[in-house]
Symmetry: C2
Subunit: 401 residues, 2 copies
């Protein structure tokens, strides 16, 4: 079952050209005949997991086993045709990689694809594969799904095994996936969640007022009709602010928790190897190092408040809707200081699901200036199937392709 | 006069293999028949100056003119045979370069050559050239001279033109050079300082007690007989502490001043390019960014005190002697955390001359465990010729080869 081959013809720079990881799907499963790609943080037995950084790759042995998620998909019949680019060590939200280049966004020429699951999103959006595995720690599936116009899920934390994955911050890391079609998205979800995706729907929709305020006017205008149609489909709806103070406070707390944990994961390797990294990624690692234990303690206490607030809000099969990203996919060529304010707005929208470990799905149902605009639904932890089933059903009812 | 050729055969990884900068010496000068190399921060017309970082190199045009120091040497008859490796953007004191590799130290196998003028020191120590240009901002000539057993000078700040050089922190940057032989060292100095090196000697020797305390016992023991012979040669001598509190305070102040200035030099390029750097160099850049204006103001005020103290001490043709480096050349393979305490001890010994802009010469006159140990002399600003002349004379009198 384990063969090697050249990566697919790749006009999008989505695939790792130095990896020949290829796994023929097993016969007769629910995903038979489908092809997929996996972000180069998933182990494939006999291959070195690159993680988007050449010095990481050079310092790792070949994997002794294949990651659980990859095994599950291959076992269900899907064929893995290659590994895809990631932001360095999954640190990044735009899809930029200084070593391997930034994959093209086939839905938004001249724009970034989003990251860190950049190559997986580009490969699916460009039709190079049927679906792809990404991962989401701080938005790394949701943001590229939004920028590339794809269905993408950050599942409930802990729902899908992280076994055989390069971790960033295990308390927040999740397996995620992309597809162009909500039916196929659900079929893949069924395999990864090891459950059937039966029809289900939320009972109430809460429009996250403060999250919409973070977004550009163009994004808000594009999403308005989608939100209205969803509200009428669900029946009960309302507008509420998520954060008692500000989403930027929630984002700051999540940064403290995740970045300090992420530093613990890499610090020994960094100390030993003095690896080459893009300046921005080194800066990101060091920001985790500079966090004090007192700051972590405060941020962990704050987390409890976010969890309590969201538990109340999401009770009774409620879903919260918000823009997945505050902007359209930004231009590929920007300075670090141009990117910084936008990145911190993104985190204000991605932090909530990460903080509470809840599932969040991107619905690629809007556009502005001809570019994809994603709407997100967050549901209570454990409601992954409901989100996926509702996306499938709503797409059909609302006649979204 | 401007030809290109392959870099010299290079068993030491001293030379930039991607540069063919070669300048035939002019006929009949004082350096006729000699060969030299220049650290890859010196411009050579028509060639891109690499600065030890591939992303820097890729973002620069070819130089429109040759650096003043290179022109002066070629004009005096010496032939430049190639460019040599440097720590990235001259940031580093050990000679380690994550992109191009660390040059070998021919005098200390398995040890680093010192840096940032690593390739120049290695090339001279290995006999690949007669002499070589380096630069010294925080010790980048003095430390490799000590580790590789060479004569090396950090001149008075401002004595030798920086024109056509990649700068690190212009208030502290200096042109420096290496040679194996004190006579040749003086001949090169005569060209670079544009003066004759006539016999001259100090009138008093001060042994810097606190500087010796920073050094390993082995280094102190190795230097003791050299200091005694120098003291008897000079006649008048004494022991004094340089710093009223601690050399680590002086080092901290110099770090604040130089690193904040160095950040200003690179910040726009970094913002635009998000370049790849080794983690340690990125960390070094960011430490400059984190300095506050208040810290700079305090450190600049402190500098005045160091200058006043050293002005008193160096008056009347006094020289201060101290170990150039606190240790033997350290092993090539160390973790970042193993290197850090040693690097900060080095800065305690290199900071004084940098802070006051004074000349400091490394005299390669001792060894321990078969490895080079350098003694330094610091003289008052403007006393470059005296240091060079005295080194030449003392080597003869003391019968040091």
């Amino acid at each position: 079952m384990n063969h090697t081959s050249l990566p697919p013809d790749d006009r999008l720079n989505a695939f790792c050209q130095d990896s020949r990881a290829y796994l023929q799907g097993e016969d007769g499963g629910s995903l038979a005949g489908l092809t997929f790609a996996a972000k180069d943080i998933y182990d494939v037995k006999g291959h070195v997991t690159g993680g988007g950084n050449p010095d990481w790759k050079a310092s790792q042995p070949a994997a002794e086993a294949t990651a659980w998620a990859v095994e599950a998909l291959v076992g269900a019949g899907a064929t893995m045709v290659g590994k895809t680019h990631t932001d360095e060590l999954t640190r990044g939200i735009l899809g930029i990689n200084a070593h391997y280049g930034t994959p093209l966004n086939p839905q938004a020429p001249g724009r970034v694809p989003g990251g860190s699951s950049s190559g997986s999103a580009a490969a699916v959006a460009g039709g190079l594969v049927d679906f792809a595995l990404g991962s989401d720690t701080g938005g790394s599936v949701r943001i590229p799904a939004s920028f590339c116009g794809l269905y993408g899920l950050r599942p409930t934390h802990g729902r899908i095994s992280l076994e055989g994955m390069l971790l960033q911050a295990p308390s927040y890391d999740t397996v995620g996936w992309f597809a162009r079609d909500p039916g196929l998205f659900a079929r893949v979800g069924s395999v990864l969640l090891q459950t059937e995706i039966v029809p289900a729907r939320p009972r109430r929709l809460v429009v996250a007022a403060d999250a919409f305020e973070v977004a550009d006017q163009g994004v808000r205008t594009a999403l308005e009709p989608v939100v209205e149609r969803l509200a009428s489909l669900i029946g009960h709806s309302g507008r509420e602010r998520l954060a008692p103070t500000s989403l930027s406070d929630w984002a700051a707390g999540q940064r403290v928790r995740a970045s300090s944990e992420a530093w613990e994961v890499v610090k020994e390797w960094i100390d030993r190897m003095n690896p080459r990294m893009s300046f921005q990624v080194a800066e990101s690692c060091l920001s985790g190092r500079s966090v004090t234990p007192e700051e972590v303690a405060t941020a962990l206490a704050d987390r409890q408040e976010v969890m309590a607030r969201m538990r109340t809000l999401l009770a009774g099969d409620t879903v919260v809707c918000l823009p997945t990203a505050p902007t359209l996919a930004p231009p590929r060529m920007q300075t670090m200081s141009e990117r910084r304010p936008m990145t911190s707005r993104i985190v204000q929208l991605t932090c909530t699901a990460g903080t509470i470990g809840a599932p969040q799905i991107n619905l690629p149902w809007a556009e502005a200036e001809g570019l994809p605009v994603g709407l997100s639904l967050i549901a209570a932890p454990g409601s992954d199937e409901m989100l996926i089933a509702f996306a499938r059903q709503a797409a059909e009812i609302l006649q979204i392709s």
